[in-house]
């Protein structure tokens, strides 16, 4: 029996009618689905079933779920996470994306565990949740405003600095496939196009102000446990390095082991990596640390370009993914230019990963003669050319010229230029993130079987496989993928960040104790993982009902047929037959059939 940890409230808003209802969450619901993406997946499943799975991701009937977890906002390491769940415009399948910062905390402090939104506002509006008071405020003046500018205007209009704003940029309004939701200036729920869902609902921002005590069963016991976790983190030899460099430290590492995407994954080492790495950032750009709520690790790096043609550009970031996708992957060897591109993406509200991936593909497509100069609107674009890259980013967000096609993501690009299928690294329509999977089968499998498409959020197994070597037994690789796909989403259900665990090795056992002290219910880590595993079954079930089959769990063309040219992994690709064997074994271990369908019993349990 869950004794605490939840308000047991679900705020349901219909933007079409303006109706807002506070619903009660049942004990069995919070027991089974925990929070975050668990809540979102179940709500989406019910929503889609009621509509016979005929829902347009950009239609008013699509459901957007905003769900922090029971840990969000608590005094334990890195509890600032919050998930957005919806039918993804990018993949047409289950989609979710999480953000850090303070928005989830503020939202939870209004006294809810879950916010769900349907419908479409008549004109561009914001949803303001001020403790128990909910209002939908028409705000057409926000049209076309950048995330930062809109945030400022909203705060001014509401007359308070003490609110938290999750906002979309022009890209979200324009329905760009990979539009993100932005908060606290530069924290984003970046992937799967949640920003476009908000845009399609005429919802420019969700604003929260809450001051409730967060429910905790035994606060002193939680503090004792969290204190131990905290001491561990602070005494870790890499703690200070982490604070200083954050994820930027990965550039050197990824380059050294040959997994750094370079020139649209033509290569996996970048000759000029020393011009875009953490040392460059520390020497010339970083001006402050930045942390999400309750996080001692402060992985954010606020950077300022002090002079030159990008002089005056200031933003938080880039972190590894952005630096790699907008840097080495585009052949950009100038940190200031990466910063400018990152800043522009944040302002316009588009995902840096998809943006970098697609622009890389366009440059190679042009190089190979697939895309003509005319189709590029007469704008020549080659590797490392900052000006054209920045211009292309603007065009995507505003859907101008070639940007209109790119805004439709990988599927639209491939539809227009079928030959681009061989150049774009994507799975299920979602562009791949910045870890080259060609030297590591487990990473290729992780991308192929991720429920949202080619993103590393579900499983990041590459470091371990590179350590173990290519001859590491297949079975172990698959077990690791499944373990990651179970544990990592658990963090998204609980509302805590996974980085203390994955980066500094914080023992995951702490989380079963946190859970006990927060909810008053005894559950082992294994039991929590079982719940997370059920959600993975559920998202799979949603996806198969929407048409996903075995052939969609695929590897991109380059991964099996175009090896990196230089570096430690030159010449390495994934053998398609080996991948196929791995996929069969993966399904078997998951208890899915040979087509990747969950068992009839599992499906029946969710249908009941």
């Amino acid at each position: 029996m869950i004794k605490s940890g939840y308000f047991k409230k679900h705020l349901r808003v219909d933007l079409s009618s303006g109706q807002a209802d506070w619903l009660d969450l049942s004990d069995s619901f919070i027991e089974e689905y925990v929070g975050g993406r668990g809540f979102g997946a179940r709500l989406l499943w019910d929503h889609l079933r009621e509509r016979d799975f005929k829902v347009d991701p950009r239609g008013p009937e699509n459901l957007l779920v905003v769900a922090p977890g029971p840990f969000t906002g608590l005094y334990l390491p890195s509890s600032g996470k919050n998930s957005f769940i919806s039918l993804s415009p990018a993949t047409g399948l289950y989609g979710d994306s999480s953000m850090g910062g303070t928005f989830g905390v503020e939202l939870r402090q209004t006294g809810i565990d879950l916010l769900s939104i349907t419908g479409r506002a008549e004109e561009l509006s914001i949803l303001f949740i001020d403790n128990e008071k909910t209002s939908i405020i028409p705000f057409p003046e926000l049209k076309g405003k950048s995330c930062l500018e809109a945030e400022g205007m909203i705060k001014k209009r509401l007359g308070s600095h003490a609110v938290s704003v999750a906002v979309i940029g022009p890209a979200g309004e324009n329905g760009v496939n990979f539009a993100c939701v932005n908060t606290d200036w530069s924290r984003n729920a970046g992937r799967t196009g949640i920003g476009a869902v908000m845009g399609s609902k005429n919802l420019k921002a969700i604003v929260a102000r809450g001051d409730r005590d967060l429910p905790v069963h035994d606060l002193s016991a939680l503090r004792a446990e969290a204190g131990q976790a905290d001491s561990y983190l602070r005494s870790h030899p890499y703690f200070r390095l982490w604070q200083r460099e954050g994820l930027m430290t990965v550039i050197d590492y990824a380059n050294s082991i040959g997994i750094l995407p370079t020139c649209n994954f033509k290569d996996s080492v970048f000759t000029h990596f020393e011009q875009i790495n953490s040392q460059v950032m520390l020497d010339g750009y970083k001006i402050a640390d930045s942390a999400c709520f309750a996080c001692p690790m402060c992985c954010g790096n606020i950077c300022l370009v002090k002079d030159g043609r990008h002089g005056g550009v200031v933003t938080e970031g880039p972190e590894y993914e952005s630096a790699a996708m907008l840097g080495s992957n585009l052949g950009v060897d100038n940190y200031a230019a990466i910063l400018a591109a990152n800043c522009l993406c944040d302002e316009l509200g588009i995902d840096t990963i998809s943006t970098g991936n697609l622009i890389g593909a366009v440059i190679e497509g042009y190089e190979n003669g697939i895309i003509t100069l005319d189709e590029l609107d007469g704008m020549e674009i080659t590797w490392g050319e900052e000006e054209s890259i920045l211009e292309l980013i603007r065009k995507i967000a505003h859907r101008e010229g070639i940007g209109d096609t790119l805004a439709g993501g990988a599927p639209a690009v491939i539809k227009r230029w079928p030959a681009m299928d061989e150049l774009i690294l994507q799975v299920k329509g979602l562009e791949q993130s910045a870890y080259d999977s060609r030297p590591a089968l487990s990473m290729a499998l992780a991308y192929a079987t991720s429920d949202i498409g080619a993103h590393h959020t579900r499983a990041w197994t590459i470091a371990r496989e590179m350590e173990e070597g290519r001859d590491w037994p297949l079975e172990k690789k698959i077990d690791l993928v499944i373990y990651h796909q179970t544990l990592r989403p658990l963090f998204d259900m609980l509302g805590a960040c996974r980085l203390p665990w994955i980066e500094l090795g914080l023992n995951e056992r702490h989380y079963e104790n946190f859970y006990r002290h927060v909810t008053g219910r005894e559950r082992t880590l294994e039991q929590l993982l079982e719940l997370s595993n059920r959600i993975y079954d559920l998202t799979r079930l949603i996806n198969t009902r929407l048409g996903t089959t075995r052939k969609d769990d695929s590897i991109p063309f380059k991964v099996h047929s175009r090896p990196a040219m230089t570096g430690p992994n030159a010449g390495k690709v994934i053998d398609p037959e080996e991948f196929d064997r791995a996929l069969s074994l993966y399904y078997k271990k998951r208890g899915w059939d040979d087509q990747g369908r969950v068992s009839p019993e599992t499906a029946a349990a969710f249908e009941a």
Partner: protein
């Protein structure tokens, strides 16, 4: 506690994680609610980029005490304290504080104000960036003084080599003072 110690913040170090708020609220109210803390981190961006923990300076001549109509605020042993029995909850002290370092919450009948936790503040212990510190009063401004000294412009420089490594000595010349 030592009266000559001051709680001070170094905003340049602050990451904006708000752990100090959590630590304060847990210690004083026994609840997980950053909105019940006597310290708040204000965050501004992008112009200027700053994160600033705002907390009581325990002034010797506290303006909050000056405006208190029932004389409930006094500095005792280095801590400016609100006498909870005398306080009439008029919240004049919130407005009077030049730093905005006294707070209110709808659940709390009286103002929320830093009491230095009896001399060993929880926020200082909790801060992962050492951005909030207890330091002796006479050490306040030490960094600035040192910075000022090192950036003194009228220094002369000579270069020399030690074990093959180039080094620089900076010095001031007596009798060549400039005004």
């Amino acid at each position: 506690m030592n009266e000559r110690f001051k709680l001070t913040v170094i905003p340049e170090l602050c990451s904006g994680c708000r752990i100090c708020e959590l630590a304060c609220a847990v210690a004083h109210f026994g609840v997980n609610n950053p909105k019940k803390a006597a310290v708040r981190v204000l965050v501004a961006y992008p112009h200027p980029v700053i994160r600033m923990p705002v907390i009581c300076s325990q002034c010797r001549k506290p303006p909050c005490g000056d405006v208190c109509p029932v004389n409930a605020i006094h500095r005792v042993g280095g801590v400016v304290k609100i006498d909870r029995d005398l306080c009439i909850s008029c919240f004049k002290c919130l407005e009077a504080c030049p730093f905005g370092a006294i707070y209110a919450h709808s659940d709390c009948p009286q103002p929320i104000k830093c009491d230095l936790c009896g001399g060993d503040p929880e926020c200082v212990k909790a801060c992962p960036k050492e951005a909030i510190r207890m330091i002796p009063e006479q050490a306040l401004g030490e960094t600035r003084r040192l910075g000022n000294l090192l950036s003194y412009t009228h220094m002369k420089e000579i270069e020399y080599f030690e074990k093959g490594e180039k080094k620089v000595i900076r010095y001031t010349e007596v009798g060549k003072e400039e005004l």
